[in-house]
Symmetry: C3
Subunit: 101 residues, 3 copies
């Protein structure tokens, strides 16, 4: 069991962005990802409500360097125009070759 | 990328508690949350089996202080009477204004 | 709120392995778990693609010692023959008796 050199990156976004984001994170180095649908709700009256509606929740495990690259990309491309939530945390994993090119 | 000042709080509970818990966590300061349905199973014969059945899994990202408030509330209100699972861990996030009032 | 003595173990595997893995983790000491279905995609052309297809995502919270036992078991039994993803991270929890025998 190695030290956390990998992070789980979670992206919550509108379903319409799914295909684009999927392609982008693979291009940035993710070896794979899972997707599920989540229902979100935001506080009523929130002006910029990233939580609400039918969203996709995309999860990928990547080496830290690729995680930073994905976050930088999403931040630059989406955060001014779209309601996208991104968070990340360290995970320990076995079989790390699944998460690297 | 700031230091972890936010935590992801996950609540697993019976579907019948969904609406109440949703309202409570927003009242306690969560700016939004996602919900999905998970199937749970507990060890046969467990007397107080919080895992079993069709449950909702509610996730929210909140500043640490609000996370503590949510945990204290759930603990006081539900834990003697209901099978509710709550856990939390630190996350790094970008666009933190989504998670604050 | 105790220190992290528990970990969340996540197992992503083909649906055909569901029943077997469920039984195994309970036999190894998990007191319960949740299951949901996730769609996975791997990089095209990956030879050993653990992400792709309709998978189950199984999550359990266990004391650290049991987590290590589960990881060792899955690693030994599945990793040479099946595309299984396993990762783990520390969580803080209240009501820890749910996660112990």
């Amino acid at each position: 069991m190695e030290k956390p050199l990998f992070q789980l990156v979670t992206i919550i976004a509108d379903e319409s962005l799914r295909k684009t984001i999927e392609e982008e994170i693979v291009n940035l180095g993710a070896s794979g990802y899972t997707v599920s649908v989540v229902e979100g709700k935001g506080k009523n009256g929130a002006r910029d409500d990233a939580w609400s509606g039918r969203n996709i929740k995309l999860e990928t495990i990547v080496p830290n360097a690729i995680g930073e690259r994905i976050l930088a990309h999403l931040s630059t491309k989406y955060f001014n125009r779209y309601a996208v939530i991104v968070y990340t945390f360290d995970v320990r994993t076995i079989r790390s070759e699944h998460f690297e090119h």
